[in-house]
């Protein structure tokens, strides 16, 4: 691959995913409305699609206010972390054979490391805001991270065992015969729950929880700094959906009448829809409940899953 090709792929990935993240404003509001028997935004432009532009412009024109009691530099820095860390994770996702930014042989570990960094933005943002609700949100963000991070990594080890690789392109290639969701159903469910907690999406939006902490860690944020948290959340949804597709649903693989990239994005959008459906349907647990389920139920479950997968893999070898 030449340098120019590489740069074009990087720019293309950046362009496509930032636009998807922005477009999700419309997708989420329309889908939520549909599931609540409403219509959603349908005035601005065809099907209300221009709401994306209107919302973005609105965010740009909002007063970008830094509270005098805030820790200024950390306050400015925190929203950048979530977007940067999530965008970094997209680096290792193979969208189609040959279309990926970095072909890392430890791709999966890189994803786990980068996506975990996102929690810094919550903790730092909540801390720097110097506001008791924000601090409570940050506290909850940290405790939630302790809950999901353990079984998130372990739930993916079954996939690694089956494909014998940390390289995502090889993991996809190993699913040529059968998708890993059929071999690792428990791993898939647990990874999806962890991913939900990772993106702080609605059943697990414990650090944000607008009903009790107002907006939690980003209560003091306004303008485009708030927009960064917003974009980071939508990028996170896209990332977890893309990872679920890559690891469990055969990535770009699919019948030949559509090109691989189209298959990849179709599958990803199904999972984005599932994220929004979960927001529409499930209530939020308390954070001690999440910790309890994480450590007492999901962690043993994922360890048993790992044990059984290992045993079967060993038995098949002999």
């Amino acid at each position: 691959m030449t340098v120019m090709q590489h740069i074009w792929i990087v720019l293309g990935v950046l362009f496509v995913f930032l636009n998807i993240a922005a477009g999700l404003i419309w997708v989420e509001r329309r889908l939520l409305a549909m599931w609540q028997d409403r219509l959603g935004p349908n005035r601005a432009g065809p099907l209300g699609l221009m709401i994306v532009l209107a919302d973005t412009l609105k965010l740009f024109f909002k007063e970008d206010w830094i509270p005098p009691f805030a820790d200024k530099w950390v306050f400015i820095f925190a929203p950048a972390i979530v977007v940067a860390s999530v965008l970094m994770s997209f680096v290792i996702i193979p969208f189609a054979p040959g279309i990926l930014v970095a072909d890392l042989n430890v791709g999966l570990l890189f994803f786990l490391a980068m996506s975990s960094l996102g929690v810094y933005s919550i903790v730092l943002g909540g801390w720097a805001s110097n506001n008791k609700y924000s601090l409570l949100g940050a506290l909850r963000g940290a405790s939630q991270m302790i809950a999901y991070e353990v079984f998130m990594g372990l739930s993916l080890m079954g996939v690694v065992m089956l494909s014998r690789s940390f390289n995502l392109a090889e993991i996809v290639a190993a699913q040529e015969k059968v998708w890993f969701v059929f071999l690792q159903p428990v791993g898939f469910v647990i990874f999806f729950i962890a991913g939900l907690a990772e993106t702080h999406r609605l059943p697990f939006d414990i650090p944000e929880s607008e009903s009790e902490l107002i907006a939690g860690f980003h209560a003091e944020y306004s303008g485009m700094k708030f927009g960064m948290f917003f974009i980071g959340e939508y990028l996170g949804i896209t990332l977890i959906s893309a990872m679920t597709v890559t690891l469990f649903f055969g990535g770009w693989l699919g019948p030949a009448f559509l090109p691989p990239v189209v298959w990849f994005f179709l599958k990803t959008f199904v999972f984005i829809g599932l994220f929004i459906l979960l927001r529409a349907s499930l209530p939020r647990p308390r954070y001690d409940q999440l910790l309890e389920y994480g450590w007492k139920l999901l962690l043993p479950l994922v360890l048993v899953n790992l044990l059984v997968t290992g045993a079967i893999a060993l038995w098949m070898k002999h």
Partner: protein, 171 residues
């Protein structure tokens, strides 16, 4: 877990339900006839004003948004010299309609009263008076009243007996 999946499925099925939204400016809301909206002053079947300037509506108003001044014409018929309702204060409770002894003041099923300037929400008598009998067609207060105010002779009203001749003992 099963109940969560069931919840998700049931929520998903709402995709195919009927929408509750009324797309307002294009689609109008079906208003009930008793809806308490914009206040009007009605006229009797002869085209005269029903309002007799009794101040009961102004007294009943809990937010004091009604102001009027009663006057009398040459026949002794009372009417409001001015009648002013400040709709930026009005809470559309309908007490004025209940208090009105002549069915003059009525609330109508109209809520589209938005204005750009607050001052435009103060309605004068010419804004309030409508050329209609409202909810009580055929009612004419001065035909019922004992008073003669140029509408009918004394004793010629509806359900009214001729005046007793106080100078005579005969029944």
């Amino acid at each position: 877990m099963i109940s969560h999946l069931r919840t998700m499925w049931l929520v998903f099925l709402h995709l195919f339900h009927k929408r509750e939204t009324i797309q307002y400016p294009e689609e109008k809301v079906a208003m009930r006839p008793r809806w308490r909206g914009r206040i009007v002053l009605t006229k009797d079947p002869d085209g005269g004003e029903r309002c007799v300037g009794c101040y009961l509506c102004a007294a009943a108003c809990p937010v004091d948004c009604i102001a009027l001044q009663a006057a009398e014409d040459e026949n002794g018929r009372r009417y409001p010299e001015f009648f002013r309702i400040n709709f930026s204060r009005c809470i559309f409770c309908g007490y004025c309609e209940e208090a009105c002894p002549t069915y003059a003041i009525q609330l109508t099923p109209d809520f589209e009263m938005a204005e750009y300037r607050r001052q435009d929400l103060v309605y004068e008598k010419e804004d309030l008076l409508i050329d209609s009998q409202g909810k009580y067609p055929g009612y004419n207060f001065y035909k019922m009243a004992g008073l003669s105010a140029g509408v009918k002779e004394k004793g010629k009203g509806e359900n009214e007996e001729a005046p007793v001749d106080i100078k005579s003992l005969l029944p």
